[in-house]
């Protein structure tokens, strides 16, 4: 019961509809309309660009406000248009690694990684930073600025910066674009190890079938704002599925 109970409470449930004005080449209005449940573990979001994958992640993180619907993690409501609930981004405790790198250029690697845990006591903060620096094999870069490290290193620092905050949901938007295969394998290993230690839903956007196969517990195929999922669909509040 315990194990089952924990899995159910950690579930990410997303029912959102979001229309956006046309952008890009075809300037067609775009509507994201999905109803998805993400269990703990890695779910791959697959689909052509423009399918709404990033829009979906932005809605979950709170960077975009859905027109209607709800986003909840376990029993906590992050967004609900009917109940007029919209928890601000910085209070959602959702990790998000963006498609393009977003390390703070004026801060060292160490300060970047510590950014999300500034509220912790100094000793505890330092312990966690040291731990994750060595776990991601970037300890020797701690005093460097983002401009002084390679793309692959920046990718790892970015991942570490998100993971150290102990998010309850992790969103990864093509976090390995432009990395070579060896580096990818390393990072995939890091992620898998981390995933087994923390039982949270991880949404992973990728175009690569290889990454999808290496990482995914589940797969969601997105196309033109809608999604087909291989996850057994659970209605909210029901525990019969598990």
């Amino acid at each position: 019961m315990d194990a089952v109970g924990r899995e159910i409470t950690a579930m990410l449930q997303v029912r959102v509809r979001k229309s956006r004005r046309g952008a890009g080449a075809h300037r067609q209005p775009f509507v994201l309309d999905v109803s998805l449940d993400f269990p703990p573990g890695i779910t791959i979001l697959f689909g052509p660009s423009g399918a709404g994958k990033s829009t979906l992640l932005d809605c979950i993180a709170g960077l975009l406000r859905p027109d209607t619907g709800s986003v909840r993690v376990g029993t906590e409501i992050l967004f609900d248009s009917a109940a007029a609930v919209n928890i601000p981004v910085h209070q959602r405790r959702i990790g998000y690694v963006f498609q393009s790198l977003a390390l703070f250029p004026h801060l060292t690697v160490e300060k970047n990684i510590g950014y999300g845990i500034a509220h912790l006591p100094a000793a505890e903060k330092q312990r966690r930073i040291d731990e994750i620096l060595s776990a991601f094999r970037v300890a020797e870069l701690r005093r460097r600025k983002p401009a002084e490290i390679s793309g692959g290193e920046a990718q790892r620092v970015e991942l570490a910066r998100s993971l150290i905050t102990d998010p309850r949901v992790l969103l990864l938007d093509e976090p390995m674009t432009g990395l070579d295969d060896d580096l990818k394998a390393l990072i995939i290993e890091d992620l898998r190890a981390w995933r087994t230690a923390r039982n949270i839903p991880i949404l992973y956007v990728t175009h690569s079938k290889g990454e999808a196969r290496a990482l995914g517990d589940h797969c969601v195929n997105m196309h033109s704002g809608t999604a087909a999922s291989d996850i057994p669909h659970l209605s909210a509040g029901s525990s019969s599925g598990f």
Binding site: A61, H90, Y96, F98, L103, F104, H106, R161, T165
Partner: protein, 226 residues
């Protein structure tokens, strides 16, 4: 107080006051999505194109014994505002407004939006994002704003003439003193003060351009297309 010291004091007061006043306005202009924003942008830019006499005229009306500002000041401090250092300071703040707001706004806008999202996602409140990300990355713009306000106030003439008159030690700034000296044919004195103003202005502008070069990009200056 000598005219030169008065000018420097006025310029320092204007620059520090404007830094505080212009910061929130520039922040709002940079990040607001309100459609009518352009109207406020136009108002902020007005002193760039208005003759100083127009600005000075309205400032004088507002500060006069019958004007709203003058009445308020009289009630609060027991004396009028026109032809005092306080009045001169208020008019100068308006006159240099765009020189503070526009570089700050440009600097805020040039901070990558993705960094602001990253900060929020990492749990930082908007205030912390401003302090820890926007402010340090806007430092060149802040330096530019302060230095430009300082230099611009040092060089103002029309507004001071309208609002301040030429009371020695109170509102008689260097630029006014030079004018008076030329009027009374004291070319030697005028020459000395003019030279000092020239050198100070040059030094101050050198700082702006050095900072801009160091920052690796061109920030806003009133003389360059944005």
């Amino acid at each position: 107080m000598s005219p030169l010291w008065l000018s420097l004091k006025l310029a320092a007061c204007v620059a520090s006051l404007l830094l505080v006043i212009a910061m929130p306005i520039a922040y709002w202009l940079a990040y607001s999505t309100w459609r009518g924003k352009f109207l406020l942008e136009a108002v902020v830019a007005l002193p760039l194109v208005l003759p100083p006499t127009v600005l000075g005229f309205y400032a004088l009306l507002a500060m006069g014994p019958a004007g709203p500002l003058g009445k308020f000041w009289n009630a609060a401090f027991g004396h009028g505002l026109a032809f005092t250092f306080g009045g001169l300071l208020i008019a100068s703040v308006f006159y240099s407004f765009p020189f503070a707001v526009q570089p700050l706004m440009g600097a805020f806008e040039s901070v990558d939006g993705k960094l602001l999202n990253a900060s929020a996602v990492l749990g930082a409140s908007p205030w912390r994002t401003f302090r820890s990300v926007i402010l340090p990355l806007s430092l060149p713009g802040i330096v530019t704003a302060v230095v430009l306000c300082f230099a611009h106030t040092l060089g103002e003439f029309g507004v001071v003439l309208m609002v301040g008159g030429s009371l020695p030690g109170v509102t008689r700034t260097a630029s006014i003193a030079i004018y008076d000296q030329v009027q009374s044919l004291e070319y030697g004195q005028a020459n000395r003060m003019a030279l000092v103003l020239l050198l100070i202005s040059f030094a101050v502008l050198s700082v702006v351009y050095a900072v801009n070069r160091h920052a690796g990009r061109r920030l806003w200056t009133p003389w360059a297309a944005k």
